[in-house]
């Protein structure tokens, strides 16, 4: 091992001794050399300013029209029914209705965050090849079998059939196989057919998350029973 030696000197061009770096790849990744460019100042700065002011105006209007909720002083002895978490957690709270807390509160949220984080490290997510580029029959069968299995799991694994996940699963599966069954004749079918597997998985995840959250926000009342917002109002 080489002895450590403090390099010093008055000439910044010579000390410390410089090495030549050869960049192996072509990052920063701007591949288009002839793309249309504009000066950030003022073109981008002005757009940002307008966007900011529009947002501010929107928030001011909302704040003038609607007051933030404030109930009576917190009382540990009086549990409201239902006791709901903030809206962005109501999808998870809805899951709590079907699964034990260790699944709905620990396993699934951990899985969601973990899956989101590793998205860019899977080749299938980077390539995003159109699903219907080749092999129709086997794919139709695979998708149908896969989604039937998934629906079966969603229907039987919890305390109740998990309808907010079953319905989106069926809808997405139908959309997925549509180009396989009908071909890609029309523009809509061609668009659907050119979507990739990662597109469908993410869309399925969003659809299930949205359905669970919407049900949790609008359709759940005392004792987490099903309520109708237009008949019973919204519980929060």
């Amino acid at each position: 091992m080489a002895e450590f030696e403090l390099e010093r000197g008055a000439d910044a061009r010579k000390v410390p001794l410089r090495l030549l770096f050869v960049q192996a790849d072509e990052r920063p990744a701007v591949e288009e050399e002839d793309a249309q460019v504009v000066m950030s100042f003022p073109h981008l700065v002005l757009r940002e300013l307008i966007a900011f002011l529009a947002l501010l105006l929107f928030l001011v209007a909302i704040s003038l029209l609607f007051d933030a909720p404030l109930e009576e002083l917190a009382n540990p002895d009086r549990t409201p029914n239902p006791a709901k978490a903030p809206w962005y957690f109501l999808g998870l709270q809805e899951l709590l209705h079907y699964y034990p807390p260790v699944v709905a509160g620990v396993l699934l949220p951990g899985l969601i965050v973990g899956c989101l984080m590793i998205i860019p490290y899977f080749v299938v997510n980077l390539e995003r090849a159109p699903l219907w580029a080749s092999g129709r029959v086997t794919k139709v069968i695979a998708i149908l079998l896969g989604s039937v299995g998934l629906v079966a799991v969603l229907a039987c694994s919890g305390a109740h059939p998990l309808w907010p996940a079953i319905v989106p699963t069926i809808l997405i599966a139908l959309l997925m196989v549509l180009p396989g069954l009908l071909g890609t004749g029309t523009r809509t079918l061609a668009w659907i057919g050119s979507r990739s597997l990662p597109f469908w998985i993410f869309t399925w995840f969003l659809a299930v998350g949205l359905a669970l959250t919407v049900v949790g926000i609008f359709f759940r009342g005392p004792g987490w029973t099903l309520t109708l917002p237009w008949r019973d109002g919204i519980y929060y």
Binding site: E31, E32, A35, S40, A68, P80
Partner: protein, 248 residues
């Protein structure tokens, strides 16, 4: 008239000591405006026209940041009127309603901007996914983005307790009860979060410090890294081949 006045304001020693370049009417001065300004130097001097179209990004990331700025300003103002103790915290909410001038408006702004920020950050993530903008070399920036989403949700959640009304108390009770379900260390984790076995004054001060100091600091640092990496990777992602004129 206006032109000369503007000129007088800009062309003097004091102004030029603050802003070192002349009026940005030439591309040279416009470049200088970008890279001699602390705030603007986050952005490149030139941007691709495709990258700044509204319909490409809907400015979701930028609007999330705008929400954070509004939240920081209204949050600091709210801190002037807030004591993180029981039941003073709730009394302060009532003071905001009946004593502080524009107190209700201030709290409304903070509340709605917080909800909007959670929404915008989520939409930003969704947009980035569908654009495929997590592709190399941007993989790790996507991961940072997921962490920033978590920070945003945690910020909103810790803020939820602070009014100390029934809504706040029970929402946080429901949420922290979930921590109990963690195998083996659940009870300890919950104790660490709350500083006790129930949501009480200790929980309030913990959530307050997290909400006002620790999480905002972490979020701002994370955003700085997030933006810096976007910049290093060539700005807003534009799918190869659709960036400009077709080559060759």
């Amino acid at each position: 008239m206006f032109g000369t006045l503007l000129n007088r304001l800009i062309e003097n020693r004091v102004f030029r000591s603050i802003v070192r370049h002349g009026f940005p009417d030439s591309n040279r001065n416009r470049s200088l405006a970008s890279f001699t300004n602390f705030f603007l130097h986050l952005q490149p001097v030139k941007v691709r026209l495709k990258a700044i179209e509204f319909t490409r990004t809907f400015y979701l990331g930028g609007l999330s940041l705008a929400c954070l700025l509004i939240l920081s300003i209204t949050g600091v103002l709210l801190m002037f009127y807030y004591h993180p103790s029981v039941p003073r915290a709730y009394d302060d909410m009532k003071d905001l309603e009946f004593v502080v001038s524009q107190g209700v408006f201030l709290r409304n702004m903070h509340r709605w901007a917080a909800h909007l920020m959670v929404l915008l950050v989520s939409l930003h993530m969704i947009r980035v996914f569908y654009a495929g903008a997590y592709r190399p070399p941007r993989e790790f920036n996507w991961v940072i983005g997921v962490v920033l989403l978590l920070f945003t949700v945690l910020l909103s959640y810790t803020g939820y307790l602070l009014p100390w009304d029934q809504l706040a108390y029970w929402a946080v009770t429901v949420g922290t009860n979930m921590a109990r379900a963690v195998p083996a260390i659940g009870e300890e984790m919950r104790f660490l979060m709350l500083g006790g076995h129930t949501v009480n004054e200790n929980a309030l001060i913990r959530f307050y410090v997290l909400h006002c100091v620790a999480l905002p600091a972490a979020l701002f640092l994370g955003i700085a890294i997030h933006l810096w990496r976007v910049r290093k990777d060539g700005g807003v992602y534009v799918e190869p081949g659709e960036g400009g004129e077709v080559r060759g």
